[in-house]
Subunit: 411 residues, 2 copies
């Protein structure tokens, strides 16, 4: 893509009321636009990141049997009354609205109830189980304060999968698979080394839930981690008794701030019972479906990546989710630059060409701010030696190489 | 995909309160799930249709310079007060909600105001124009009644592009391109022959807007069409004077019911003026940006396709937007069916295999109801003659052909 075709532009300043690093950088780099506190549009570059993260998540969910669908934001009061989650005194982050005839509706902040109700139309017998529907969509949470940029949006983008199993045994098999799939997702988006499987509070049907906590000073959670074992314990369940149960040595644990980037939860029959989501087993006996939930905040993940990798010059995207692999900058020599741009595209390399008539300093500063993994400069100077200048965003050193070498490296 | 992996299942009956043909069929065929009147989840097969239509629209929008972004549902009161579209007495299809602190918010039913405000951050000079942002997302309309299935949802899926031009001349060039792109979209989704460019009421900045009206008895609009010229006039502007202006002969026009599947509109400075969306021209003089809007309801388009092509047995999908090209049915012979299934997938042919242990009659009825373009049957009988049975959903005749021939036809 040519930068001149992009309607959005980098900004000198983020709005004054924007205190989070992720939103400040993403606004300045023209990845997002602030509509109000906690509500952001995703500009073309930002949407490309969202789409790349979504694709990785989709692939991993499909690989464990997930089937994608598209649920709704609008929610019926009656559905949520069954589980006692409608009343604002009990659930404090609803956005509520009404039909013209006065019927109360809510905007989904999660989807356990909706998916449970929906599956009542499709689950009758043990032959219909297990089932793993998921969806990727906007959700809404009426946060009282919203100061963490896209890490805690009032309107945000997330993936939720719900598992429907015949019993706890069948559930546990999938739960372990989901754990592995989540670890792959964090690896693939570039957060693997910073993200810890974390024991957190469970519910009636399992002692623990599992969070995926990414180390960051911007995190709202406090975890105690064992670096060797690559597991952690959330402060909410941190006790001598629990540590012993998990075989963790208190003296080896390090206290760290972290961002909850994903969580998986054994729901058991907490939702199937009030909704009466029932199947007939092989003996024809009625049984409650055993459920689990598996969430990842996609916009939160994007914000987390910004928080943990950005440097003083701007954003640093991992290659797997960067909007473009290469930021091509020309200093003069438009014709040669265009030729290189076309050749890169032809070879299937995602390239963003700063074809604007701007000072080199401005182009370099924008490239650093926007954070594509590779910067390629073509100028009269590089052409003299029949080469281009290559720099990785995450490194300081600059290389002069031939175009052939460039194609090899970027392939 | 194997049908046994799909959690959703065909239904004998649609809900009693569902009166529209499109929703009745789509619910029975397990493409959508009704949450409440006008609010539908898209099940895996339905989502595949939505994604295929979206992809076609994206390609056509990109080809005329459109750049995709992701806007928000939550809208600020102040933005809409500027254009006098906040008050429920003036705009009657808002869903409204509030932040915890009592701030009024709305759920977007259209995006002129939001895009205009957003572009204020990116448009300063004539060099920033033209610009063509678009997005594809859920929108919300608080319809008093919602009886047309997914053709008039309270929560629906649509594409909107807004054009920002320096002046009317620049606008007109794009407007004509958009008209052509829309015609390509309707061709590609299979509605080309039934869809007419229709003159409808304009506004201050142009006498007419243009609608794309698809002929259907389920339509809410009445149009007068000239079949030869392939253009039509909406009843709202139908008069002797207008016909003369358009060079249409009253005696050649046919009155037809039609569904408004798309519309393009010259907005002029209607939105840029109240928002003060201004650019500096070459002489440094401040000018208002000249705008246009270009909408297509994606879920409505899907519903329209069902309305116009379905027969007494079920849905008939055009190949371009069918969830799968082929519905493979085996009668016994699982092993041979699996082999054929894998081979079709290997050749890049999208195949949906009814691998369930069901009676042939039930499999055939489901295939007709679901409407994939090709049905392929493999059975002991077809294997005897080393062949498979091929039937197009839109035709009655059945062919016995070799697998090699099958691959050739489906390629």
């Amino acid at each position: 893509m040519k930068q001149s075709n992009l309607f959005s532009k980098t900004q000198k300043f983020a709005p004054k009321d924007e205190v989070s690093k992720n939103a400040q950088l993403l606004i300045r780099a023209a990845f997002i636009h602030k509509e109000m506190a906690g509500v952001y549009s995703f500009l073309p570059l930002g949407l490309r990141v969202i789409e790349k993260i979504s694709k990785i998540i989709e692939e991993e969910m499909n690989s464990i049997g997930g089937v994608k669908m598209k649920s709704t934001a609008l929610q019926k009061k009656e559905t949520w009354e069954k589980t006692n989650r409608w009343d604002d005194a009990l659930v404090d982050n609803w956005f509520k609205t009404q039909l013209k005839n006065g019927t109360d509706l809510g905007l989904a902040f999660t989807h356990e109830e909706a998916f449970t109700e929906l599956m009542k139309d499709y689950i009758e017998s043990h032959r219909d189980l297990p089932a793993y529907p998921y969806d990727i969509r906007d959700m809404f949470r009426n946060e009282t304060r919203s100061k963490s940029g896209i890490m805690r949006g009032r309107e945000f983008f997330w993936k939720a999968l719900y598992s429907f199993s015949k019993n706890k045994e069948e559930h546990n098999i999938f739960y372990e698979k989901a754990k592995e799939a989540y670890q792959k997702i964090f690896q693939r988006v570039g957060l693997g080394d910073l993200t810890y499987l974390t024991f957190a509070s469970g519910g009636t049907f399992s002692k623990f839930s599992h969070e995926f906590q990414t180390l960051s000073e911007a995190g709202e959670d406090l975890i105690y981690l064992d670096e060797e074992k690559k597991i952690a314990v959330n402060r909410e369940v941190y006790s001598d008794e629990i540590l012993e149960e998990l075989g963790l040595d208190k003296n080896k644990l390090i206290e760290k701030k972290a961002i909850e980037t994903g969580n998986i939860f054994t729901l058991g029959t907490k939702f199937s019972e009030p909704a009466q989501l029932i199947y007939k087993d092989k003996e024809g006996k009625e049984q409650l479906v055993f459920m689990g939930s598996y969430g990842i905040g996609i916009s939160r993940l994007m914000g987390t990546v910004v928080e943990v990798f950005a440097d003083e010059k701007g954003i640093v995207w991992p290659e797997s989710i960067a909007p473009f692999k290469v930021h091509l900058i020309n200093i003069g020599v438009e014709e040669e630059a265009e030729k290189l741009y076309e050749e890169l595209k032809e070879k299937g390399i995602e390239v963003f060409w700063d074809d604007r008539d701007k000072r080199p300093g401005e182009k370099f500063a924008d490239a650093d701010l926007m954070g594509m993994p590779y910067r390629v400069v073509i100028s009269p100077k590089t052409l003299e030696s029949n080469s281009v200048e290559l720099k990785k965003r995450s490194e300081d050193s600059v290389e002069m190489i031939s175009q052939e070498k460039l194609f090899e490296i970027l392939k």
